[in-house]
Symmetry: none
Subunit: 192 residues, 4 copies
Amino acid sequence: MTEAGAVPRRRGAARSETARRAILKAASSLFATRGYDHLTIEGIAAEAGVAKQTIYRWWPSKGSVVAEALLEGELLPGHFEVPATGDVRADLTAWLEDLSRFVDDPGNAPFIRSLVTAAAENADIGARLDEALGGSELTTRVEDAVASGEIWARTPVQEVVDALVGAVVTRALRRVPATPDTAERFVHLLLR
Amino acid sequence: MTEAGAVPRRRGAARSETARRAILKAASSLFATRGYDHLTIEGIAAEAGVAKQTIYRWWPSKGSVVAEALLEGELLPGHFEVPATGDVRADLTAWLEDLSRFVDDPGNAPFIRSLVTAAAENADIGARLDEALGGSELTTRVEDAVASGEIWARTPVQEVVDALVGAVVTRALRRVPATPDTAERFVHLLLR
Amino acid sequence: MTEAGAVPRRRGAARSETARRAILKAASSLFATRGYDHLTIEGIAAEAGVAKQTIYRWWPSKGSVVAEALLEGELLPGHFEVPATGDVRADLTAWLEDLSRFVDDPGNAPFIRSLVTAAAENADIGARLDEALGGSELTTRVEDAVASGEIWARTPVQEVVDALVGAVVTRALRRVPATPDTAERFVHLLLR
Amino acid sequence: MTEAGAVPRRRGAARSETARRAILKAASSLFATRGYDHLTIEGIAAEAGVAKQTIYRWWPSKGSVVAEALLEGELLPGHFEVPATGDVRADLTAWLEDLSRFVDDPGNAPFIRSLVTAAAENADIGARLDEALGGSELTTRVEDAVASGEIWARTPVQEVVDALVGAVVTRALRRVPATPDTAERFVHLLLR
DNA sequence: ATTTAACCGAGACGGTACGTCGCGTCTTCAA
DNA sequence: TTGAAGACGCGACGTACCGTCTCGGTTAAAT
């Protein structure tokens, strides 16, 4: 007798987890090196030691490969955590300075713009864009500050987060670098 | 003999304004129809009845063609003016609602995302992204409100504009549609 | 104890005759429909409702599948018998006219050329090419005529047959159709 | 004023004769080395230092490339001339022995079968198959013998040639090697 | 009765080649 | 000198089959 809820497992060889991991790893590595629009399925396949068809079998486009790599944390691992020192304004300022420093670095600018390009063309990536930039941590941090009474109870959390992440993005697209007080000004604008 | 003060005009035929216009028009039309990344130089040349070389002679990339089309107003003609009724909060809310309505329309969403893609890869387009969305008018409007004493004198104008435009962009990338009160919430968040 | 002379039959399930027949049938059908070089192992497997491995287990190549189909009479069933009326010249002429009619039919020409392609690449098929065209019956018929004294005793039988079958093949390859007297001219050339 | 009958020459760069020659040369070389069905468009392009598209622009299939190479004499250069000593039977015998020796050589057998494969799938190649094997020279030689009264005036020349070439082909397909007297027997069968 | 070897279906996998699209450069001819 | 036309080398696309390899399940001889 089979377990309740067990999937009957269709016949034939199972999907190779090895290949899947190699593809995501290769995609991340090439994305970081060459950028989203120089990223090719052929390149990923070659780097991963995998047949092109194996990619096409499981992903409809390069965008979806990148999206999954993003989800798995292969891209941007460990970047952009939001500190939680107890002073929410200081925490947000620190996060924003960290992110701005990253975005303004000429070596990273193409990377962040590639992320935006990828987001613009692929819904999955778009759906997680601010997550990759730390957006969901940011939301949690601000919600905690509201809950603890540190900031105004009716603070529109989502709008604050959108404004912060959005400002970073729109400035990146216009190649406007942050000045030393940019982060602080934004935070004081948004958290009264 | 040439006129005094005239540009010395080297020999041969002058640049064809007809061809230039046809190219920008074709680019705009194809951009609107097929989106930025299905836009091709070959396609533009064919649509415009022009040789590829004529495009390559005057523009370094498809991005720069689109940028010029944007400048000429071939794309987004007449959209997104910021009203000036005297009530700056109402004006910004109206502008934001207008823009959100446009962005949230399923028929326009690919267009706006294509603009973002184009901006991400081409500095000229990026430099004018918020302008195309009404950003520069917005700046003027907020500055006027500061000057007239309608709002706080030390309002960080650029940050407000970046936050508004950026929020629209980041929401578009995440496919998050506006709710009826979104515009008002943003405006009240930013202009206290 | 096993029967004397019986093959010691190793363990496990026996080869499925059902699968074998389905494969040959599918191969014949696809050969007739699409021609030898559009014939694929995957196509045969799909058509036969069989796994690819089942084909690879028993045949080394698609050529050998076709060769076996030819042997089983799945291809060219009942075609090209040589009549035996007693008049060998009339019999050969009739056979040659029949074959020429078949070969010259625009619907069959691809089929016969596919047979030649298959023969050229696969020794087994080549070895039975003239058999499929009636060659072995032809040999028998000419040998009988020699034995009965109807034609010259030292007639080089094999050469006559090769010349007849070969002429049909080389004309098919050059797309040269037979004229009404072609068959008769050949027979009178070869049997004096 | 232009020459009468001169083609007006449409605009744009002319077809590159260099590329055309390189392609035919590469095709011939690879055909001889690897055989017709291991011949690939990609392989030809790589060997010729040419883009695939340049091949596809001018030829519809690999068969037509080979056909043109055959026409240009890149394949089989100088093979299989029919001698003209005055003794037509001796000449035909010599030609047939020469050809048989070539065909029976294990190193050449794949080549000749490749020619047959190519002929079977491509009408142009088929139309010139016997020419490549010396067929047209053979026709001339036999016609001359008829004209000079050396052989019977009503000899059916085309049938004789078809029988000879066809016999070589059908034997090659069945992998039947010639014996020392094969050539002589054929010639005496056909030329009484 | 159990074990075990071989069969069979399904189908994933690393590959090769396909035929097409678009790139950016170059050459030809007409204006 | 510009501009339309278009050939060229190049790189990538997404697809079709190749032949090999698991996988889960079945069949039948050997233990």
